[in-house]
């Protein structure tokens, strides 16, 4: 525990954490005493974990990467955090993120960017960039993130670790600061499949506090075993020249490994996949514009302007001053898509396309056990390299599909692509078949001959 905190402090330049929790040391000592007294401790006893700062942690500052939550210390913890702690895990810090989870590079944080441990000139991905950086740099073996359109998987790919988004409803969203409720799931970042499985197994289970939480969670009993006879479908629309050379090379290597492990790899079409990004960037902002309406500076959250200005003006000023550029952009996009006269053409249309995409995937899963795509079309890019928001959105083309359809997906490290930077491959499974993803990740990890090691970072 001391080492984890020391590494986190030494790696301050990474920007991985917004808040550290020094009390973690005391908790670890208490566990040591209980262990010495012969008590049986939980499966994660004493394991340091990092938690994305849009998950509520009782008594610990929670910012969601936004100025609008200045000084917010939640009186309760998210169910997933509570369950990890009940299993003995100890939260050492709250990780950096794009404001409210809106972004793919961690550059949209009110607390400055997080950086990629493989090369600090590059982004760690986002929005769970701080969580990915913490795991990749070996600060913690596990971190929680949230994944609304790829926010766990894409940073996992950019930093060379595993990133898992479960079936929609498998993990409770109680205590998650909501961005797009029909799309988002809590996810886990780790360096070994075993750690992933352990974390998921203690967090799975119905939560009466979350109406969308599944009555019975995915069964993980099939999480182990070889890949003999497993049918993998490579998604034609996403495995072509939209990807960098380096990513295509990693895809070819992964395909060869899968075959060597006994899987069959075929090609499958998801004809509506190329429309996924457009549909996602209507649905997610629409839900965001509604979810973020609560940050109005009235009862809670940042308030600007004097009483005499009246409620409406104070509200407008508070929101205008406290939201960053990307959040404003999405609120306005979502407001437009939902506004009178435009609903059918934008939000309604996007929901119909969402149905078509879910249908494509259901059909593909009648012939294949798993679908394979790169996690992102490129490896990490340099900070400030992408100024155009649309260019950033296009990088989510592979990951948004699983959120639109509610199916589980994992990003597995697949070696390096451009400039020696890592990249990952994404596998998707039918809803509730999360175990298949752990199985393929475990098999690829074993084939690589080692766990996905932390970066021997020279900034430490």
């Amino acid at each position: 525990m001391r080492e984890a905190l020391a590494r986190a402090e030494a790696a301050e330049g990474l920007g991985a954490f917004i808040t550290l929790v020094p009390e973690a040391l005391e908790k670890a000592r208490t566990l040591d005493v209980r262990r010495a007294a012969g008590e049986t401790l939980g499966p994660l006893a004493g394991v340091p974990v990092a938690v994305k700062d849009n998950l509520c942690t009782a008594g610990v500052l929670t910012t969601a990467g936004s100025k609008s939550l200045t000084g917010f210390v939640p009186p309760y913890s998210a169910t997933v955090v509570e369950r990890l702690e009940a299993a003995g895990a100890i939260v050492i810090g709250k990780t950096n993120l794009d404001e409210f989870g809106m972004g793919s590079s961690n550059e949209n944080s009110a607390f400055g960017p997080a950086r990629n441990p493989h090369n600090p000139d590059f982004v760690p991905g986002g929005s769970s960039g701080g969580s990915a950086a913490a795991v990749a740099a070996g600060i913690t073996p596990l971190a929680l993130g949230t994944d609304t359109g790829g926010s766990v998987r894409q940073p996992a790919s950019f930093t060379g670790v595993l990133g898992f988004k479960p079936t929609y409803g498998a993990l409770s969203r109680y205590g998650v600061i909501a961005f797009a409720s029909s799309l988002e799931q809590v996810g886990v970042l780790a360096r070994s499949t075993r750690d992933l499985e352990l974390a998921l197994s203690v967090m799975f289970g119905h939560d009466p506090h979350d109406a969308t939480s599944l009555a019975s969670p995915p069964d993980l009993t099939g999480a182990h075993g070889d890949l003999t006879g497993v049918r993998v479908g490579k998604v034609r629309e996403l495995c072509g020249d939209g990807n960098s050379e380096g990513v295509l090379g990693a895809l070819a290597r992964t395909e060869a490994t899968l075959k060597a492990l006994g899987a069959t790899v075929g090609e499958v079409s998801l004809p509506h996949a190329p429309y996924g990004t457009a549909a996602y960037y209507l649905v997610a902002p629409a839900e965001a514009s509604s979810n973020l309406a609560r940050f109005d500076g009235m009862v809670y959250s940042y308030r600007s302007g004097e009483d005499r200005l009246g409620q409406a003006e104070v509200m407008r000023r508070s929101r205008g001053e406290s939201f960053g550029p990307e959040v404003r952009r999405r609120i306005l996009t979502g407001t437009y898509a939902l506004s009178a006269g435009y609903y059918d053409a934008y939000y309604g249309k996007a929901l119909k396309v969402r149905r078509l995409i879910a249908g494509d995937m259901a059909r593909a899963f009648t012939s294949y056990d798993l679908l394979l795509t790169p996690t992102a079309p490129t490896a990490a890019y340099r900070l400030s390299e992408k100024g155009d928001p649309l260019a950033v959105y296009m990088g989510d083309v592979d990951t948004v599909l699983a959120n639109l359809a509610g199916v589980p997906a994992v990003s597995v490290p697949a070696g390096t692509a451009e400039e020696g930077l890592p990249c990952g491959m994404q596998f998707m499974a039918p809803a509730l078949q999360d175990a298949r993803l752990l199985r393929v990740a475990g098999a690829l990890e074993a084939a690589a001959g080692k766990s996905f090691a932390p970066v021997a970072a020279d900034f430490l």
Binding site: V73, P75, Y76, Y168, G169, S182, A211, T212, H272, Y275, A278, Y281, L282, D296, M298, V299, Y300, S301, R303, G305, D307, R308, L309, G310, Q311, A312, E313, V314, R316, R317, R319, G320, E321, P325, R328, R329, I331, L332, T333, T335, Y336, S339, Y346, G348, K349, A350, L351, K352, V353, R354, R355, L356, A358, P389, L390, L404, A405, G406, V407, A431
Partner: protein
């Protein structure tokens, strides 16, 4: 294309105050996004049902049993402004001063 008037209306609906420069820049972004979203009009979606959430949730009602909640002082400690146990918000009615 969004007109200036539509942009002002949108800012009002979203309760966002923005400077002129910010407004202009966001209007540009929005217009480019709307042009991109036109991609979806290529698809014939007649007769397709909207998919608003990926799993069906049936009844989410629970039995009406009293449960423990947060104490009022805990919740009020998080508020922007309180007075005498009440939340204090900016005035809502213009008194015509």
């Amino acid at each position: 294309m969004l007109s200036d008037a539509e942009m002002e209306h949108l800012k009002m609906l979203a309760r966002l105050e923005l400077s002129e420069t910010e407004t202009e820049s966001l209007k540009g972004d929005l217009n480019r996004l709307l042009a991109y979203f036109d991609l979806l009009s290529e698809l014939d979606t007649d007769g397709v049902d909207e998919l608003a959430r990926p799993v069906d949730v049936d009844s989410v009602f629970r039995d009406d049993v009293v449960q423990a909640g947060l104490e009022p002082h805990t919740v009020q400690a998080l508020a922007v402004e309180t007075e005498g146990g009440f939340f204090k918000v900016p005035r809502t009615v213009d008194s015509g001063e």
